[in-house]
Symmetry: C2
Amino acid sequence: MTLPLAILASGSGTNLESIARRIEQGLLDARINLVLSNRPGTRGLERAEGMGLPARVEDHKAYPDRASHEEAVIAAIREHGAEAVVLAGYMRLVSRDFVQAFSGQVLNIHPSLLPGFRGAHAQRDAAEYGVRLSGATVHFVDEHMDHGPVIIQAAVPASPEDDGDSLAGRILALEHRIYPQAVQWLAQGRLRVRQGRVYLDDAPQPVAEESPGGPCLISPGLERGF
Amino acid sequence: MTLPLAILASGSGTNLESIARRIEQGLLDARINLVLSNRPGTRGLERAEGMGLPARVEDHKAYPDRASHEEAVIAAIREHGAEAVVLAGYMRLVSRDFVQAFSGQVLNIHPSLLPGFRGAHAQRDAAEYGVRLSGATVHFVDEHMDHGPVIIQAAVPASPEDDGDSLAGRILALEHRIYPQAVQWLAQGRLRVRQGRVYLDDAPQPVAEESPGGPCLISPGLERGF
Protein backbone atom coordinates (compact mmCIF):
# COMPACT_ATOMS: atom_id res chain seq x y z
CA MET A 1 0.00 0.00 0.00
CA THR A 2 1.32 3.41 -0.95
CA LEU A 3 -0.46 6.43 0.49
CA PRO A 4 -0.90 9.22 -2.07
CA LEU A 5 -0.14 12.58 -0.47
CA ALA A 6 -0.93 16.20 -1.19
CA ILE A 7 1.57 18.51 0.49
CA LEU A 8 0.35 22.05 1.08
CA ALA A 9 3.03 24.66 1.61
CA SER A 10 3.10 28.45 1.61
CA GLY A 11 6.81 29.01 2.09
CA SER A 12 10.23 27.51 1.74
CA GLY A 13 9.17 23.88 1.74
CA THR A 14 11.92 22.34 3.82
CA ASN A 15 9.50 19.90 5.44
CA LEU A 16 8.22 19.02 1.97
CA GLU A 17 11.79 18.26 0.98
CA SER A 18 12.47 16.15 4.07
CA ILE A 19 9.41 14.02 3.30
CA ALA A 20 10.33 13.70 -0.38
CA ARG A 21 13.85 12.60 0.55
CA ARG A 22 12.56 9.91 2.89
CA ILE A 23 10.33 8.64 0.11
CA GLU A 24 13.34 8.50 -2.23
CA GLN A 25 15.19 6.55 0.45
CA GLY A 26 12.38 4.01 0.54
CA LEU A 27 11.48 4.81 4.14
CA LEU A 28 7.89 5.94 3.51
CA ASP A 29 4.98 3.92 2.15
CA ALA A 30 3.78 7.08 0.45
CA ARG A 31 4.12 9.09 -2.72
CA ILE A 32 3.63 12.78 -3.37
CA ASN A 33 0.82 13.24 -5.88
CA LEU A 34 0.64 17.01 -5.52
CA VAL A 35 2.49 19.95 -4.03
CA LEU A 36 0.15 22.90 -3.70
CA SER A 37 0.96 26.47 -2.71
CA ASN A 38 -1.44 29.31 -2.03
CA ARG A 39 1.24 31.75 -3.17
CA PRO A 40 3.09 31.86 -6.49
CA GLY A 41 6.86 31.88 -6.78
CA THR A 42 7.74 30.25 -3.46
CA ARG A 43 10.90 28.33 -2.71
CA GLY A 44 8.67 25.36 -1.93
CA LEU A 45 7.32 25.31 -5.49
CA GLU A 46 10.87 25.54 -6.83
CA ARG A 47 11.90 22.62 -4.68
CA ALA A 48 8.93 20.58 -5.86
CA GLU A 49 9.74 21.27 -9.50
CA GLY A 50 13.41 20.54 -8.88
CA MET A 51 12.43 17.15 -7.51
CA GLY A 52 10.07 16.47 -10.42
CA LEU A 53 6.95 16.59 -8.26
CA PRO A 54 3.58 17.83 -9.60
CA ALA A 55 3.30 21.41 -8.35
CA ARG A 56 0.37 23.75 -8.50
CA VAL A 57 -0.55 27.22 -7.31
CA GLU A 58 -4.00 28.10 -6.06
CA ASP A 59 -3.51 31.74 -5.21
CA HIS A 60 -5.99 32.72 -2.53
CA LYS A 61 -5.93 36.27 -3.85
CA ALA A 62 -7.46 35.03 -7.09
CA TYR A 63 -10.63 33.91 -5.31
CA PRO A 64 -13.45 36.11 -4.04
CA ASP A 65 -13.54 34.50 -0.59
CA ARG A 66 -12.06 31.90 1.68
CA ALA A 67 -14.66 29.26 0.87
CA SER A 68 -14.21 29.39 -2.89
CA HIS A 69 -10.43 29.20 -2.55
CA GLU A 70 -10.71 26.21 -0.29
CA GLU A 71 -13.09 24.48 -2.69
CA ALA A 72 -10.50 24.87 -5.42
CA VAL A 73 -7.82 23.42 -3.17
CA ILE A 74 -10.01 20.44 -2.28
CA ALA A 75 -10.79 19.90 -5.98
CA ALA A 76 -7.10 19.99 -6.87
CA ILE A 77 -6.24 17.45 -4.16
CA ARG A 78 -8.97 15.10 -5.38
CA GLU A 79 -8.06 15.58 -9.02
CA HIS A 80 -4.54 14.36 -8.23
CA GLY A 81 -5.86 11.35 -6.35
CA ALA A 82 -4.32 12.30 -3.01
CA GLU A 83 -5.88 10.62 0.01
CA ALA A 84 -3.95 12.33 2.79
CA VAL A 85 -3.07 15.99 3.20
CA VAL A 86 0.19 17.13 4.75
CA LEU A 87 0.30 20.78 5.80
CA ALA A 88 3.91 21.92 5.71
CA GLY A 89 4.12 25.60 6.48
CA TYR A 90 0.68 26.20 4.96
CA MET A 91 -0.37 29.58 6.28
CA ARG A 92 -4.10 29.20 5.71
CA LEU A 93 -6.55 28.00 8.32
CA VAL A 94 -8.52 25.07 6.92
CA SER A 95 -12.24 24.78 7.61
CA ARG A 96 -14.28 22.04 9.16
CA ASP A 97 -15.45 21.12 5.64
CA PHE A 98 -11.85 20.64 4.56
CA VAL A 99 -11.09 18.43 7.54
CA GLN A 100 -14.20 16.36 6.87
CA ALA A 101 -13.37 16.03 3.17
CA PHE A 102 -10.20 14.13 4.14
CA SER A 103 -11.42 12.72 7.38
CA GLY A 104 -8.66 11.71 9.77
CA GLN A 105 -6.06 12.13 7.05
CA VAL A 106 -4.90 15.72 7.49
CA LEU A 107 -1.64 16.38 9.35
CA ASN A 108 0.10 19.56 10.41
CA ILE A 109 3.42 20.38 12.01
CA HIS A 110 3.80 23.32 14.35
CA PRO A 111 7.08 24.70 15.76
CA SER A 112 6.15 24.61 19.44
CA LEU A 113 5.21 22.18 22.15
CA LEU A 114 1.45 22.53 21.72
CA PRO A 115 -0.75 23.74 23.32
CA GLY A 116 1.89 26.39 24.04
CA PHE A 117 2.59 29.10 21.47
CA ARG A 118 -0.01 28.58 18.79
CA GLY A 119 0.00 30.95 15.85
CA ALA A 120 2.27 32.21 13.12
CA HIS A 121 5.13 33.44 15.33
CA ALA A 122 5.58 30.49 17.65
CA GLN A 123 9.38 30.50 17.79
CA ARG A 124 9.65 34.27 18.29
CA ASP A 125 6.92 34.19 20.94
CA ALA A 126 8.67 31.36 22.77
CA ALA A 127 12.01 33.18 22.68
CA GLU A 128 10.38 36.35 23.99
CA TYR A 129 8.65 34.42 26.77
CA GLY A 130 12.06 33.16 27.82
CA VAL A 131 11.28 29.44 27.77
CA ARG A 132 14.12 27.02 28.45
CA LEU A 133 12.56 24.26 26.35
CA SER A 134 10.70 24.45 23.07
CA GLY A 135 10.08 22.01 20.23
CA ALA A 136 7.72 20.82 17.56
CA THR A 137 4.41 18.99 17.38
CA VAL A 138 2.85 16.90 14.59
CA HIS A 139 -0.89 16.65 15.01
CA PHE A 140 -4.07 15.72 13.22
CA VAL A 141 -5.80 18.84 12.02
CA ASP A 142 -9.17 20.02 13.21
CA GLU A 143 -10.91 23.27 12.35
CA HIS A 144 -9.02 25.25 15.01
CA MET A 145 -5.63 26.76 14.35
CA ASP A 146 -2.69 24.63 15.51
CA HIS A 147 -5.04 22.29 17.28
CA GLY A 148 -5.98 18.64 17.09
CA PRO A 149 -4.86 15.24 18.39
CA VAL A 150 -1.10 15.07 18.99
CA ILE A 151 0.88 12.38 17.16
CA ILE A 152 4.48 13.14 18.13
CA GLN A 153 6.37 15.86 19.96
CA ALA A 154 10.06 16.69 20.18
CA ALA A 155 11.71 19.09 22.61
CA VAL A 156 14.91 21.12 22.24
CA PRO A 157 16.63 23.52 24.64
CA ALA A 158 16.22 27.28 24.43
CA SER A 159 18.17 30.01 26.18
CA PRO A 160 17.74 33.72 26.89
CA GLU A 161 20.27 34.40 24.13
CA ASP A 162 17.89 32.88 21.58
CA ASP A 163 15.78 34.92 19.22
CA GLY A 164 13.04 33.56 16.99
CA ASP A 165 15.47 32.71 14.20
CA SER A 166 18.00 30.80 16.26
CA LEU A 167 15.26 28.87 18.00
CA ALA A 168 13.51 28.19 14.69
CA GLY A 169 16.68 26.65 13.27
CA ARG A 170 17.09 24.30 16.21
CA ILE A 171 13.45 23.24 16.03
CA LEU A 172 13.50 22.81 12.26
CA ALA A 173 16.23 20.18 12.43
CA LEU A 174 13.84 18.06 14.50
CA GLU A 175 10.80 18.86 12.35
CA HIS A 176 12.65 17.24 9.47
CA ARG A 177 12.91 14.01 11.45
CA ILE A 178 9.54 13.76 13.16
CA TYR A 179 7.28 14.78 10.27
CA PRO A 180 8.35 12.01 7.87
CA GLN A 181 8.03 9.55 10.76
CA ALA A 182 4.47 10.69 11.52
CA VAL A 183 3.55 10.44 7.83
CA GLN A 184 4.90 6.91 7.75
CA TRP A 185 2.81 5.92 10.79
CA LEU A 186 -0.23 7.35 9.01
CA ALA A 187 0.65 5.48 5.81
CA GLN A 188 1.02 2.26 7.77
CA GLY A 189 -2.41 2.71 9.33
CA ARG A 190 -0.91 2.59 12.84
CA LEU A 191 -2.59 5.73 14.20
CA ARG A 192 -5.95 5.68 15.96
CA VAL A 193 -7.71 8.63 17.58
CA ARG A 194 -9.92 8.00 20.59
CA GLN A 195 -11.29 10.78 22.80
CA GLY A 196 -8.86 13.26 21.34
CA ARG A 197 -5.78 11.14 22.04
CA VAL A 198 -3.66 9.41 19.42
CA TYR A 199 -2.82 5.74 19.95
CA LEU A 200 0.10 4.41 17.93
CA ASP A 201 0.36 0.65 17.39
CA ASP A 202 3.75 -0.69 18.49
CA ALA A 203 4.87 2.76 19.58
CA PRO A 204 8.67 3.05 19.92
CA GLN A 205 9.88 4.08 23.36
CA PRO A 206 10.50 7.81 23.76
CA VAL A 207 14.15 8.70 23.40
CA ALA A 208 16.47 11.31 24.88
CA GLU A 209 19.51 11.82 22.71
CA GLU A 210 22.50 14.03 22.11
CA SER A 211 22.04 14.59 18.39
CA PRO A 212 24.53 16.60 16.29
CA GLY A 213 22.19 19.61 16.61
CA GLY A 214 22.15 19.31 20.40
CA PRO A 215 20.20 17.38 23.01
CA CYS A 216 16.57 16.53 22.38
CA LEU A 217 13.68 14.43 23.68
CA ILE A 218 11.36 12.74 21.19
CA SER A 219 8.08 11.04 22.11
CA PRO A 220 7.19 8.52 20.78
CA GLY A 221 10.69 7.57 19.64
CA LEU A 222 11.72 7.36 16.00
CA GLU A 223 12.18 4.19 14.02
CA ARG A 224 15.32 3.19 12.19
CA GLY A 225 16.27 5.66 9.47
CA PHE A 226 14.35 8.66 10.86
CA MET B 1 26.87 33.02 52.40
CA THR B 2 23.88 30.93 53.40
CA LEU B 3 20.50 31.99 52.06
CA PRO B 4 17.74 31.70 54.68
CA LEU B 5 14.62 30.20 53.12
CA ALA B 6 10.94 30.09 53.93
CA ILE B 7 9.26 27.13 52.25
CA LEU B 8 5.52 27.50 51.75
CA ALA B 9 3.60 24.27 51.19
CA SER B 10 -0.06 23.29 51.28
CA GLY B 11 0.24 19.58 50.73
CA SER B 12 2.54 16.59 50.95
CA GLY B 13 5.79 18.52 50.91
CA THR B 14 7.91 16.23 48.74
CA ASN B 15 9.67 19.20 47.15
CA LEU B 16 10.30 20.58 50.61
CA GLU B 17 11.90 17.27 51.52
CA SER B 18 14.05 17.16 48.37
CA ILE B 19 15.41 20.63 49.17
CA ALA B 20 16.01 19.75 52.82
CA ARG B 21 17.89 16.60 51.79
CA ARG B 22 20.15 18.54 49.44
CA ILE B 23 20.91 20.96 52.25
CA GLU B 24 21.81 18.02 54.50
CA GLN B 25 24.09 16.74 51.77
CA GLY B 26 25.89 20.07 51.70
CA LEU B 27 24.82 20.82 48.13
CA LEU B 28 22.89 24.02 48.85
CA ASP B 29 24.19 27.29 50.23
CA ALA B 30 20.88 27.70 52.02
CA ARG B 31 19.09 26.83 55.22
CA ILE B 32 15.38 26.44 55.95
CA ASN B 33 14.33 29.01 58.53
CA LEU B 34 10.62 28.30 58.23
CA VAL B 35 8.17 25.82 56.75
CA LEU B 36 4.74 27.40 56.54
CA SER B 37 1.46 25.78 55.59
CA ASN B 38 -1.89 27.46 55.04
CA ARG B 39 -3.59 24.26 56.15
CA PRO B 40 -3.20 22.38 59.43
CA GLY B 41 -2.30 18.72 59.63
CA THR B 42 -0.60 18.29 56.28
CA ARG B 43 2.00 15.70 55.41
CA GLY B 44 4.33 18.59 54.63
CA LEU B 45 4.15 19.84 58.21
CA GLU B 46 4.79 16.32 59.48
CA ARG B 47 7.83 16.05 57.26
CA ALA B 48 9.13 19.40 58.47
CA GLU B 49 8.72 18.38 62.10
CA GLY B 50 10.30 15.01 61.38
CA MET B 51 13.33 16.79 59.98
CA GLY B 52 13.49 19.20 62.91
CA LEU B 53 12.59 22.24 60.84
CA PRO B 54 10.62 25.18 62.27
CA ALA B 55 7.05 24.61 61.09
CA ARG B 56 4.09 26.93 61.36
CA VAL B 57 0.47 27.01 60.25
CA GLU B 58 -1.23 30.18 59.09
CA ASP B 59 -4.67 28.84 58.29
CA HIS B 60 -6.27 31.07 55.68
CA LYS B 61 -9.67 30.14 57.07
CA ALA B 62 -8.76 31.87 60.33
CA TYR B 63 -8.46 35.25 58.60
CA PRO B 64 -11.29 37.47 57.42
CA ASP B 65 -9.83 38.01 53.95
CA ARG B 66 -7.01 37.22 51.60
CA ALA B 67 -5.03 40.36 52.41
CA SER B 68 -4.98 39.84 56.16
CA HIS B 69 -3.90 36.21 55.74
CA GLU B 70 -1.12 37.23 53.43
CA GLU B 71 0.05 39.92 55.85
CA ALA B 72 0.35 37.27 58.54
CA VAL B 73 2.34 35.04 56.20
CA ILE B 74 4.70 37.88 55.30
CA ALA B 75 5.14 38.71 59.00
CA ALA B 76 5.94 35.09 59.81
CA ILE B 77 8.53 34.90 57.04
CA ARG B 78 10.21 38.10 58.26
CA GLU B 79 10.04 37.03 61.88
CA HIS B 80 12.03 33.92 61.01
CA GLY B 81 14.60 35.93 59.10
CA ALA B 82 13.97 34.27 55.75
CA GLU B 83 15.17 36.24 52.72
CA ALA B 84 13.91 33.99 49.94
CA VAL B 85 10.55 32.27 49.57
CA VAL B 86 10.17 28.86 47.97
CA LEU B 87 6.63 27.92 47.00
CA ALA B 88 6.37 24.14 47.02
CA GLY B 89 2.83 23.09 46.31
CA TYR B 90 1.48 26.24 47.93
CA MET B 91 -2.08 26.50 46.69
CA ARG B 92 -2.59 30.19 47.34
CA LEU B 93 -2.06 32.90 44.75
CA VAL B 94 0.36 35.49 46.14
CA SER B 95 -0.27 39.18 45.54
CA ARG B 96 1.88 41.85 43.99
CA ASP B 97 2.58 43.14 47.51
CA PHE B 98 3.92 39.73 48.51
CA VAL B 99 6.18 39.58 45.46
CA GLN B 100 7.47 43.08 46.17
CA ALA B 101 8.07 42.27 49.83
CA PHE B 102 10.63 39.65 48.75
CA SER B 103 11.63 41.23 45.51
CA GLY B 104 13.24 38.83 43.05
CA GLN B 105 13.50 36.16 45.74
CA VAL B 106 10.27 34.19 45.34
CA LEU B 107 10.37 30.90 43.41
CA ASN B 108 7.66 28.47 42.37
CA ILE B 109 7.61 25.08 40.69
CA HIS B 110 4.79 24.06 38.40
CA PRO B 111 4.21 20.57 36.95
CA SER B 112 3.98 21.56 33.28
CA LEU B 113 6.06 23.10 30.55
CA LEU B 114 4.85 26.64 31.07
CA PRO B 115 3.13 28.53 29.55
CA GLY B 116 1.15 25.35 28.82
CA PHE B 117 -1.27 23.98 31.42
CA ARG B 118 -1.31 26.57 34.15
CA GLY B 119 -3.55 25.95 37.12
CA ALA B 120 -4.18 23.40 39.82
CA HIS B 121 -4.74 20.38 37.57
CA ALA B 122 -1.82 20.67 35.19
CA GLN B 123 -0.94 16.99 34.96
CA ARG B 124 -4.52 15.84 34.52
CA ASP B 125 -5.17 18.56 31.95
CA ALA B 126 -2.04 17.56 30.02
CA ALA B 127 -3.01 13.88 30.07
CA GLU B 128 -6.49 14.73 28.84
CA TYR B 129 -5.11 16.92 26.07
CA GLY B 130 -3.09 13.93 24.91
CA VAL B 131 0.34 15.57 24.91
CA ARG B 132 3.35 13.40 24.14
CA LEU B 133 5.69 15.54 26.23
CA SER B 134 5.14 17.25 29.54
CA GLY B 135 7.40 18.37 32.35
CA ALA B 136 8.08 20.90 35.06
CA THR B 137 9.09 24.55 35.28
CA VAL B 138 10.80 26.50 38.06
CA HIS B 139 10.16 30.22 37.74
CA PHE B 140 10.35 33.48 39.58
CA VAL B 141 6.91 34.40 40.87
CA ASP B 142 4.96 37.42 39.79
CA GLU B 143 1.40 38.30 40.74
CA HIS B 144 -0.13 36.06 38.07
CA MET B 145 -0.78 32.38 38.69
CA ASP B 146 1.96 30.05 37.41
CA HIS B 147 3.63 32.93 35.66
CA GLY B 148 6.96 34.71 35.79
CA PRO B 149 10.51 34.46 34.41
CA VAL B 150 11.55 30.85 33.72
CA ILE B 151 14.67 29.54 35.46
CA ILE B 152 14.76 25.87 34.44
CA GLN B 153 12.53 23.42 32.60
CA ALA B 154 12.60 19.65 32.32
CA ALA B 155 10.60 17.51 29.90
CA VAL B 156 9.40 13.94 30.24
CA PRO B 157 7.42 11.73 27.84
CA ALA B 158 3.68 11.23 28.11
CA SER B 159 1.46 8.72 26.36
CA PRO B 160 -2.27 8.28 25.74
CA GLU B 161 -2.26 5.60 28.44
CA ASP B 162 -1.31 8.23 31.02
CA ASP B 163 -3.72 9.76 33.46
CA GLY B 164 -3.01 12.70 35.72
CA ASP B 165 -1.56 10.49 38.45
CA SER B 166 0.86 8.52 36.30
CA LEU B 167 2.04 11.68 34.58
CA ALA B 168 2.36 13.48 37.94
CA GLY B 169 4.64 10.75 39.25
CA ARG B 170 6.95 10.95 36.26
CA ILE B 171 7.12 14.74 36.51
CA LEU B 172 7.63 14.72 40.28
CA ALA B 173 10.83 12.70 39.98
CA LEU B 174 12.29 15.55 37.95
CA GLU B 175 10.83 18.27 40.18
CA HIS B 176 12.90 16.81 43.00
CA ARG B 177 16.05 17.35 40.94
CA ILE B 178 15.48 20.73 39.31
CA TYR B 179 14.00 22.64 42.26
CA PRO B 180 16.99 22.21 44.60
CA GLN B 181 19.25 23.15 41.66
CA ALA B 182 17.28 26.35 41.01
CA VAL B 183 17.39 27.25 44.71
CA GLN B 184 21.15 26.76 44.69
CA TRP B 185 21.54 29.08 41.69
CA LEU B 186 19.48 31.67 43.56
CA ALA B 187 21.57 31.19 46.71
CA GLN B 188 24.74 31.63 44.68
CA GLY B 189 23.45 34.90 43.19
CA ARG B 190 23.85 33.53 39.67
CA LEU B 191 20.37 34.42 38.38
CA ARG B 192 19.59 37.74 36.71
CA VAL B 193 16.26 38.77 35.17
CA ARG B 194 16.29 41.12 32.21
CA GLN B 195 13.22 41.83 30.09
CA GLY B 196 11.41 38.86 31.53
CA ARG B 197 14.20 36.39 30.72
CA VAL B 198 16.44 34.69 33.25
CA TYR B 199 20.17 34.75 32.64
CA LEU B 200 22.21 32.20 34.57
CA ASP B 201 25.93 32.83 35.04
CA ASP B 202 28.02 29.87 33.84
CA ALA B 203 24.90 27.97 32.80
CA PRO B 204 25.51 24.23 32.38
CA GLN B 205 24.73 22.87 28.94
CA PRO B 206 21.24 21.38 28.59
CA VAL B 207 21.26 17.63 28.86
CA ALA B 208 19.23 14.78 27.39
CA GLU B 209 19.51 11.67 29.48
CA GLU B 210 18.09 8.22 30.07
CA SER B 211 17.52 8.46 33.80
CA PRO B 212 16.19 5.54 35.90
CA GLY B 213 12.72 7.12 35.67
CA GLY B 214 12.90 7.30 31.88
CA PRO B 215 14.27 9.68 29.28
CA CYS B 216 14.25 13.40 29.97
CA LEU B 217 15.57 16.71 28.71
CA ILE B 218 16.72 19.34 31.22
CA SER B 219 17.57 22.95 30.34
CA PRO B 220 19.85 24.37 31.64
CA GLY B 221 21.60 21.17 32.68
CA LEU B 222 22.14 20.16 36.29
CA GLU B 223 25.38 20.44 38.21
CA ARG B 224 27.12 17.60 39.97
CA GLY B 225 25.00 16.05 42.70
CA PHE B 226 21.61 17.22 41.42
